[in-house]
Symmetry: C2
Subunit: 237 residues, 2 copies
Amino acid sequence: MSEHIVSRFDEELKDLARRIAEMGGLAERQVDHAMTALTRLDTTLARSVIDDDRRLDLLQHEAEEMAILTIARRQPMAMDLREIVGAIRISNDLERVGDLAKNIAKRVIALEGQFQSPKLLRGVEHIAELSLAQLKNVLDAYATRDLEQATEVRDRDGEVDAMYTSLFRELLTYMMEDPRNIGFCAHLLFCAKNIERIGDHATNIAETVHYVVTGELQLDERVKQDASSTTTVAFEG
Amino acid sequence: MSEHIVSRFDEELKDLARRIAEMGGLAERQVDHAMTALTRLDTTLARSVIDDDRRLDLLQHEAEEMAILTIARRQPMAMDLREIVGAIRISNDLERVGDLAKNIAKRVIALEGQFQSPKLLRGVEHIAELSLAQLKNVLDAYATRDLEQATEVRDRDGEVDAMYTSLFRELLTYMMEDPRNIGFCAHLLFCAKNIERIGDHATNIAETVHYVVTGELQLDERVKQDASSTTTVAFEG
């Protein structure tokens, strides 16, 4: 490639990276706001989360288009190709994180005026803190191409899953104790699941960082500790 | 492009299309088997769905890699580029459909030996039939590049969503009527949600067909009728 083309290519890569960074910041903020809206049952904040999701969808489409056009125009070498493929994958994950935050926000609106007991929210807050930390850490790992930090995120996904499994049991127990909790807890079950899935996306991003840096895929190796799909809670009424 | 290169390129496109067709068939079968496993509470079949999901994950990674390399090597024109980008998007959706089928299968295993009433399953069967039909139709639409059929799938997504919202209410009502239903119904809530999301992926694929054929994106237009996230069910105990 001539110097001129190289510098245009570098410009495109930088532009793509900026877009992913913007998406990362926005996704983090959306999750944070959705959780604040949930714990304070703040429907105004919930509505702003719902509205702001469009921005993430748009950025994702733009990032994907930009990435594909860069590949088509520049025929990049393997290392640069990995960078671009990594950007596409991460923008997909961040867009889905945004969808999950939006879904939590929608449930905040559903919960308005329902019977609710603050203790029911405590477990959800807990898992949300961990998932959000995972998301922040993996975005840092991506920004600095820090393989060690990415591996740490991937290794800690089991904690999120284990926390979710125990929360699933806990919420079912509350439902059995007092049927007035059922409506509230059903929505909290989905919020908890959404938060667990945000953790999964953090892990996907960690695997993408690994792929970008090393060129290796990490298929089938992940240890799944989310046992909630196979969890039985006996009725003890 | 020379004739030689053109024919190699056509070969690559056909190869990619074959892989997507294989993924489509497999995803359909996985959803079908997961639902049969659920309605018959057949844990053997459920386990085979869980095992077979790896094949879809692998195919998706291969399709993505093949697509990206084709773009990088051949610098395709706009129309061909859309074909390839479409294939990447559809393979992503199909891989996620497979994950949702796998999650239903996992819940079948959790439901073994639990208190269960067959009437609880009826609504879930119903929505599954519709979602599976949506998936079949959109894969047909993709295979034949049938814009009309794709639009029909997109338009019918509201039916899936509306059915899910009423099923959500119904399952909550069963939980309130008899706390012994809570464990079973909690898993069914997630199964129903998974099925509704399979319908969403069918709609995504319909939008991709539209994009491949026309070059236009269909952002922000979709009418969302899934009101379950904002549905309140009062306790009437």
